[in-house]
Amino acid sequence: MNQYEVTFAGFGGQGIMTAGQLLAYAGIAEGKFVAWIPSYGPEMRGGTAYCTVVVSDTRIGSPIVTNPRGICVFNRPSFDKFEPRVKANGLFIVNSSLIDVTTSRKDINEILVPANEIALMEQNVKATNLAILGAFIGATDVVDFETMKNTITQKLGKRKELLKSNLAVFDRGYELAQKHAGQKEKA
């Protein structure tokens, strides 16, 4: 990997910004260059909030990426807005709990993650972002699985009772993406 760009998009409260920041922290832990760029202003108040994270082995040029290699969408408005922007041969992770459509693009790898259901399975409704982040790491290895888990433990470890379920949700997302990759290889 030389450089990977990923956008997380959804509405406020879905942990979009946190998901991106966790990835950025994990990148720093691996000694990589990182940049995290939020959307800001009135557009944060409704509709789509999003952030883009760039993780690179070398100094990062443009922090603005029109067509990132990966995009994770958490709600329908984000699906509509960002689906066309995924780079060809890129990754598109869709929160299928809240989005009932799938892509018609043939040139991207779409993974459906029922993030809300996964979070509910661990009685942690707020952890949908970790299900998606888990799937993202499972599908890309932008940062190492262990680095990411250590980062989550470090950054979200203050509330011990939640940490366990947070990690469990992350694991489930990760496994789902790995399984998806396995199936794709077989096919």
């Binding site: 920041q21 950025a24 922290y25 720093i28 260059f33 990182v34 940049a35 995290w36 760029i37 939020p38 800001y40 202003g41 009135p42 990062i60 040029g61 443009s62 922090p63 603005i64 029109t66």
Partner: protein
Amino acid sequence: MAKVLMKGNEAIAEAALRAGANNYFCYPITPQTEVAEYMAKRMPEVGGVFLQGESEVAVGNMIFGAAATGKRVFTTSSSPGISLMQESISYMAGAQLPCVIVNIMRGGPGLGGILPAQSDYFQAVKGGGHGDYRLLVLAPSTVQEAVDLMILSFDLADKYRNPVMMIGDGMIGQMMEAVEFPDKDADPKPPDESWAATGAKDRKPRIIKSLFLDPVKLEENSWLLHEKYERMKKEEVRFELYKVKPENEFMIVSYGTMARICQTAIDELEEEGVSIGLFRPISLFPFPSTQILEEATKENVKALLTVEMSTAQMMEDVVMAVVGNRPVEFYGRCGGIVPTPEEVKEKILEMQKTYSK
């Protein structure tokens, strides 16, 4: 110290504390309000002065009063707020007071928008206020550089007893990147007793002012300031070259975040077999004119391209720098729209066609 992930605005705030600047006055405005919020929490920890003023007009003048103590003081704002501070900036330049002002620029004119822009270049570099004065103007392109330049800004302000302005587009303020700080907070810098208002004990009273009703005195003061600006031109020019090579036919001149976007365009063009260099001014005043001329007049260079998030402001300085030796082209977007690397590439390819004829 280990690297930490930090938003540009917060990193700027923290950098000021590391520079021993424990005095901050502010007024909220997007996209720089995080500096104020961060300072509101941090200042009590370091025993400094934090105050939210009633307007940018007042804040600028609070900085004026505070700077007269000789202690390090700063403020941050965004375009419309910086316009309101021009009064105090002009007075402080006239009265030779050191201070640091950060402008996290948004699109203008007027209320404009809140998205990133570089449209306050003229205001910063050519003097937004009245009178014969200049600010030292620095423009970071990464969060780390914002930290480094913030610390440098205080040293330069003290060195020249002049306001220093750091300008970054909204992205510099909002973006998070890994940054490293000097190990610990600097102790608050002791005030410079040689000129500050400290009480007329065992000395004559000091008057800190920009009023000189006698034209001879005012002219004297203006030339004194001018000498200072000439010294800055000799000692404070800062810039960076990226992939500037003798075989290049074109050179991009761009600053701040925009320069990073150009870097990406340059990298991609390189993969396609097109070699382009980037000249990135870091100090906008003093402007690296001599150095641009030197690079521009190298044998193979056919033309220059300035890329900005404005409608060609810095371009005027580039044109002046090359004094007619080479054509200077422009590409820019504004209003909060940021040019993409693809757009910059397209412009370069178009120039290639034009100039190979």
